[in-house]
Amino acid sequence: MLEIKDLNAWYGESHILHGVDFNVQEGEVVTLLGRNGAGKTTTMKSIMGLVPRREGHVVFKGGETIGMMPNQIARAGIALCPEERGIFGSLSVTENLMLPPIVAPGGLSVDEIYTLFPNLKERARTAHGTRLSGGEQQMLAIGRILRTGAKMLLLDEPTEGLAPVIVQQIGRTIREIKNRGFTVLLVEQNFRFAATVADRHYVMEHGKIIDMIPNEQLEANMDKLHDYLGV
């Protein structure tokens, strides 16, 4: 589904990604683990075309996307839920939800999104998206990309700073959309959470992938993982 080879990215003069290699198969949930500053967000942005300069290969459904604009990449069927959530304060909750254009058939309906996130339905009339609590904003940020029909979702730390009940709700959502055939690339700091949803884990350090651990071998590799993540 998504094949990344020798991906390099820069912000101005700083070279952040140094040849990132990994792949995500259709229907998989794959995580990117790594310490702060390892380059996880930069990887997500590079896939989406949101960094000032990138080189290498990002092949999606067999097609090279490295030369494409972010809007073309989105239209190809990749959707990003950004780390900072990206809820728009000048848009109402409903406007935020309806903002991303439909790029393919097969997205969730608004009712299905409300079923996954009942809070959103209650807050639908809120005039400014940024008035929502952090958890509600995260639900909105995930919900709005489920509508678009994009089947490859990039979720950047969706559980960061959220209460345990909401983390569980997001975990349920990720399993639910996996069952529906979506493919997910998930950035996580919390590998206990990652273990409850993912098939495989890639570990990132200093702008490179340094290891891959299938979820069923996670327990066996706990020591190594603690070492990588410094926890």
């Binding site: 989406m48 949101l50 728009f88």
Partner: protein
């Protein structure tokens, strides 16, 4: 004769109407500036010159092609808007990554070039544009005679401003515009062709200025300086209303026109400066403008 605060009623209402007319132009021009500033992050100093081009387009359509006022009201904004799109695509779009100042200097230069070209071609004495026969004459409102054309200008400006506001605040296109104003890269990453949206926004803002130019043609003489005469006050309106605020530019535009008109009645000496006095007071008390949002 009715006297109000010691002023003859007809004089007061006459100046109020003149104020509303000027206010209508302030509102349409500052509205376009606000929309353009929000999306392009550029202070479009060429706005006055493009307003002037709208009036000239109407004059040319009439004198060269025998196309009258009402078709010109549609055609001139389309033609000048297309010219705006050309400017945006070829020149202005190169500056988006730079400071506001560069856009201001560039568009200031553009306005000098455009006005200079028209001065070369048509001189600066101004050319008359007849009021269309449908809108000639005046209506007795009881308390004053209102020239029909002036009433039409206020009405048309009000309708166009309200429609623009509704599009921006109530439609999905407007939501996309507002979102792109906040965070353009993310909107583009959702699949919206933001560069094209920016180009069309510039074209739309320019079309609005040209529409105002056509409305202005029968009132002021059609001359190359007609935009610069307005633009200083319009920038004061933008600052007072709050840079980039849509509602702010409409309300402040009409409001300041009226304030100016009333000043002409009660203290004529200050009528040319009152807007700038208001600007100073607003800047001192609310630096973000009356309708500006906190950063």
């Amino acid at each position: 004769m009715i006297m109000i605060f010691g002023i003859p009623g007809p004089l007061l209402f006459g100046q109020l109407l003149l104020g509303l007319i000027n206010g209508a132009f302030y509102a349409m021009l500052s509205l376009g500036l606000a929309v353009i500033f929000g999306m392009l992050n550029i202070i479009n100093f060429a706005h006055g010159a493009l307003f002037m081009m709208g009036a000239f387009a109407a004059w040319m359509l009439l004198n060269y092609f025998d196309i009258g006022y009402f078709p010109a009201l549609i055609l001139a904004p389309l033609l000048v808007g297309a010219f705006g799109i050309f400017l945006e695509k070829t020149i202005i779009s190169r500056l988006y990554k730079l400071d506001h100042l560069y856009g201001l200097l560039l568009t200031f230069g553009l306005s000098l070039v455009i006005e200079g070209l028209f001065r070369n071609g048509y001189g600066s004495s101004g050319m008359p544009y007849r009021i269309p026969s449908l809108l000639q004459g005046a209506t007795d409102l009881g308390f004053m005679f209102m020239p029909n054309y002036r009433g039409w200008v206020v009405l048309a400006a009000f309708v166009v401003c309200t429609a623009t506001w509704l599009i921006i605040e109530k439609t999905s296109l407007g939501a996309t515009l507002r979102a792109a104003t906040e965070n353009a890269p993310l909107v583009q990453a959702f699949g919206v062709n933001v560069p094209r949206l920016i180009t069309l926004t510039y074209g739309g803002g320019i079309a609005l200025a040209a529409f105002a130019g056509v409305l202005a043609a029968p009132i002021y003489s059609v001359n190359p300086n007609m935009g610069s005469n307005f633009i200083n006050t319009v920038f004061a309106v933008v600052v007072i209303g709050g840079m980039g605020s849509i509602l702010g530019s409409i309300v402040t535009g009409f409001g300041l026109g009226v304030v100016e008109g009333l000043t002409k009645v009660f203290y004529p000496q200050a009528s040319a400066t009152v807007v700038f006095v208001v600007m100073v007071i607003v800047l001192l008390t609310r630096p973000r403008g009356l309708f500006g949002k906190a950063a």
